[in-house]
Symmetry: C3
Subunit: 477 residues, 3 copies
């Protein structure tokens, strides 16, 4: 089943070690502690009257750790829903996240301005690196089960670079606001990944379709991912907003948006799932759309009321995205239906979106960008007071009108979509080269191709792990 | 097995969407940012000399997130111990928590005083809403496996409302202290739920008893819930106590109480479980009783010594509650014993308490209330110093004697029990109406009735998910 | 299968209750709130101009909770990789951690200086107690599956005591720095545990070897432990470093070390695992070595560059430690190979190291101690500025040269190794007494010996928990 093509003995070590050595060299030549992590510089600030509490660490570290949990546990376990792809879901998520956060530190450092030829790092750069990593993991969701770890590392190299470029254009050139990343993280990651999936389209993927579904326990593991993402999304959206009311408000808006989204998700799931039952795939994904959709506007004066409306819409859109309007299967003739997370995309556009990232990150991300543009256009000095300086510094300074801020937000969405789609296209073709050890069509969604599975040499044992009554009796004797 | 009675296609969407629309309308008309989340108001405070660090967000957000984890992961996974009810345990927990925290914001806002006709929201209201939600989830534990999600939503609507009323009476009218909610959260939630379970008593529930037990993996999932509850209970009890020594002391008292409780639980479990082995049901539940039992007194000068004694007692009481003194079963004749989490309650009082909430929240909650009353009655200026103003403002101001504070605490327990039992009674009868899609006696404790289960159309696949040696060999070839 | 020797009915209750009663009495006579948890004393500080924010709770509580998660979830679930030892891994971890943190409070309090005959407790003592507990849990990893809970409690009593003594010598007498515990926690815990395992060597352990391996789901549960340890290690290393730049820098150095370590681990795993696949045992363990290896130097001006080199080396050393250079097995003749986590240690030194703690904590801990000594020896006023006072107070005050600080660090490693090995030796002989209910060679690595297993009396049910197609059809009817 495994063969030299998917053997990782040379490919993965070469990729990992070359990349890590490059990173270490670049860090050695380019990266420095910032003023708040450097012993000498921080103590100069202390000598100038700062208190240790002014160190940004105390404002942001708890949020950073929540974001960190979302990246490694949230994304990692969300993707364990596949019955035999748990090792790869958590394990490749772990690998590419550990790589991407280092690479992102460098790429974001390059484009966001160097300090005397050096990249300065501290808690805020750590959060931003994790954010960029999140975008890569969203793309991973679209190609889950169909790519080798080497392909994923190559994808990460390119995607992180383009993410940094896009982020720079959106935030610095265009002056848009996007603290929670509706555009820069979710829209970018989703459409980049979908385009990669399009180029890597496998017409014969149905040969693996019996593995492209969940089992009872894998769905429970996936719920660990879902719930952690849901709980910590308020920290995600508020992690890099301004101190004080901004962080406080962003967290609260996100909390309400998610709560409303969850009610919408459960209500609609029962409507669209067959037999009037709930469908785990909706709960695992659509209930999170409310966090995506307030990624841009969460820091604005959206109000809890507005947040709930946005969350409710996001959940609705997301569940509806899972409907298979072309469904012609009849019970009994098709014993192994795929999860059908993106039936329309697959049938009309030849995009095989394993995790349904279009429903969770794509559409809600675009919705979030639009909500952000509208909310920005409606900003008034009367509502924001002096807080305008934190949320919309250009409006506060009089450089732009609120309506123009709205236009900048909208342009940013278009730019993000453009870079994501073009970048995904190019990346897809690079990943199509037959040198990365990608799995054949017949053994996608299968851990055994890249992992030594337990019980490989002792599988009788595994089969009797569920103990027979006899054994149990003996144990109780 | 499913039939129109339990089909959710209409019932659940109607419940979710009507409730969410009502909530959104009420939020639109009544809810406002408080001074610390509103951009304009907070910047006025900044202009008046406040620092961003004075924003309550930084004092309470880490605690809030810990509480949030307890609500969604802790309670959700604690209830996954049932072999085939994991989707419902985590999933319904998720649904009713997302609903209850919104409804609680409104109900608590109404009764705790409006500001110019508006409810002000911020981090403290978010924590309090999560607390109220916790109470509903405790009640959920008593009726787990025997109720439809629509019933649970209706129960939440009523219980949240009565919770807010009781909380107002206890904290504002009676002037009792109960920061960690021994009374308002645990006692209230437990006895409310037990009374609901009493009214919903199913004499023929033994038809489902073979499903009312755990399997190996479900017990491990449940331990995720247990451990998270245990670890973050110090944050729970200290989340809304006064800044400074109060939060610090409450967290520490809870930490020691839980540690002592755990030792008592393990020791007693080996005594009472048959064959001198440990019983998972004790570990999963009784080890947490120490957190419940210092919910009231944790912020007081209970000392680590006092906290440990309370925790030790709570663990003891909780384990003893699981003993089946009426046990007449003999091995071999009864192949499928129920978990027997509340054998006495069931046999004597006809209360079928699925999760044993009486042992985890009921008795330890009452113990915590008594400990709180005694500790309050013993408060002296000599011990508390100026800190008395934070813990017992009425004693500090001279309005009441310490002994009278103790009396107020005791009365609060009685009031809480009364409202919980009466409220549970009424709610039980409302939930008994045959319109909510409750499961029949034969298929309780079964996810399949409300969830599309994976492998429903492809269960061969599921059965072979444990690979045969042949397959494994091929994979290794 | 169970017999009176392993029956816990008397042994465990006696151990738990006697120990807890002793602890409670000692707490009652010796332990007091410190200045920041005592109502009266803190309010005196407030009256003297302190702000509530100066309370150390706000500097350290988020880190404490991350450490707490590592201790109870991280260590607990990391050890669930064994197929039938999940209850014991999580459950005994829970028990001995709950005990050890109480005992550590007392022992650390004794040796680190009493205040007027009293031990003062607050957030820092809580973190230190959790740290000491971590050391015991490392030793637990070496003897996992082969010891009774009573043995583990006895081991904890001794190990905590010696930990406190060693910590006192290293930090206070020798004046070494070791905030993240490369020496005091990891090296100490690993070599103590390995020596205990040596004394408890079981020549006939291969009778249980078919249970000394993982299954698919148990490896996924273990990944929960791994990922939590990985994510929160920055909090672990920075939890007790000085406020401000020190905590900030330590967290960041650890973050980069771990990321580089992970890339090294994946790359090397594919090289050394057979068939060019990845091996879960490497990922679960070696990816964490980067956190261990910057436990001493993390707070120093190691730079992200230096941290990455250290992490990369640690991952490399750790993966290589798992290689079985004496491997003579051939496929097909040995159906049940042990996990071979420490083949060399077992075959050459008769140390059966169940979890491979030598690879994860032992070698990386020694590496971390060396890195710390070198980094300390290179410290200059030019690099640290006034920050030297926090990191190396004795160099700052001119009491010692940097090079001598390096020497003190190196001596500390030697002292730690000596106390750990000698302590482990003595403890091993004490644990060898046949009075603790240790499992026989034939049923090691087996929960059933100490736990009531679900399905014991109803195992048919368990076997049909995976539903047959017929049943499923009925459910869908």
């Amino acid at each position: 089943m495994t063969n030299s093509a998917t053997n990782l003995r040379l490919k993965l070590p070469i990729a990992c070690i070359i990349l890590e050595v490059i990173i270490i060299i670049l860090f050695g030549t380019l990266v420095q502690y910032d003023d708040e992590t450097d012993a000498k510089l921080w103590h100069k600030e202390i000598a100038n009257g700062s208190s240790n509490y002014d160190n940004d660490f105390y404002y942001r570290y708890p949020s950073f750790q929540d974001v960190h949990v979302m990246i490694f546990i949230g994304f990692g376990f969300l993707m364990t829903f596949l019955q035999r792809y748990g090792f790869s879901s958590v394990g490749f998520n772990f690998l590419i996240a550990a790589f991407a956060l280092q690479w992102a530190t460098l790429m974001q450092g390059f484009v966001h301005g160097m300090h005397g030829g050096k990249i300065h790092v501290g808690i805020e750069s750590m959060i931003n690196a994790d954010f960029c990593t999140g975008s890569v993991l969203i793309s991973f969701g679209a190609v889950l089960g169909k790519t080798s770890p080497v392909q994923l590392l190559v994808m990460s190299v390119i995607e992180v670079t383009l993410f940094a470029v896009n982020e720079f254009i959106v935030l610095s050139v265009l002056g848009a606001k996007d603290a929670g990343g509706s555009m820069t993280i979710h829209t970018f990651g989703a459409y980049f990944g979908l385009m990669v999936a399009r180029v890597l389209y496998r017409p014969n993927l149905d040969k693996s379709k019996h593995k492209n579904c969940s089992v009872y326990h894998s769905d429970l593991f996936a719920m660990i991912g879902t719930i952690y993402l849901w709980m910590f999304w308020p920290s995600f959206n508020s992690a890099v907003t301004a101190h004080g009311d901004d962080q406080h408000r962003t967290a609260m808006n996100t909390y309400y948006s998610l709560a409303a989204c969850t009610l919408a998700t459960y209500g609609l799931s029962a409507v669209v799932a067959h037999d009037g039952k709930l469908d785990m795939v909706h709960i695992q994904n659509a209930a999170l759309a409310g966090g995506v959709a307030v990624g841009t506007a969460g820091e604005m004066m959206l109000t809890p009321f507005g947040s709930m409306i946005v969350g409710f819409l996001a959940g609705t859109v997301s569940v509806l995205g899972y409907i298979d309007i072309t469904d012609t299967r009849t019970h009994g003739t098709d014993n192994f239906p795929p999860l059908a997370s993106q039936p329309i995309l697959e049938q009309k556009l030849k995009i095989q979106d394993t995790c349904g990232v279009h429903n969770l990150h794509g559409m809600p991300g675009v919705l979030g960008a639009i909500v952000g543009a509208v909310t920005a256009a409606l900003a008034t000095k009367d509502v924001y007071g002096d807080g305008m300086a934190d949320v919309f510094p250009d409006i506060h300074s009089g450089d732009v009108e609120a309506s123009f801020q709205g236009v900048r937000q909208a342009i940013s969405l278009a730019v993000t979509l453009g870079i994501a789609l073009l970048g995904g296209l190019i990346t897809g073709f690079i990943l199509k080269l037959p040198i990365y050890g990608a799995p054949p069509d017949t053994i996608c969604f299968e851990d055994g191709i890249y992992w030594e599975l337990p019980g490989e040499e002792g599988s009788q044992e595994e089969l009797t792990a569920v103990r027979t009554p006899d054994e149990t009796e003996k144990l109780n004797a």
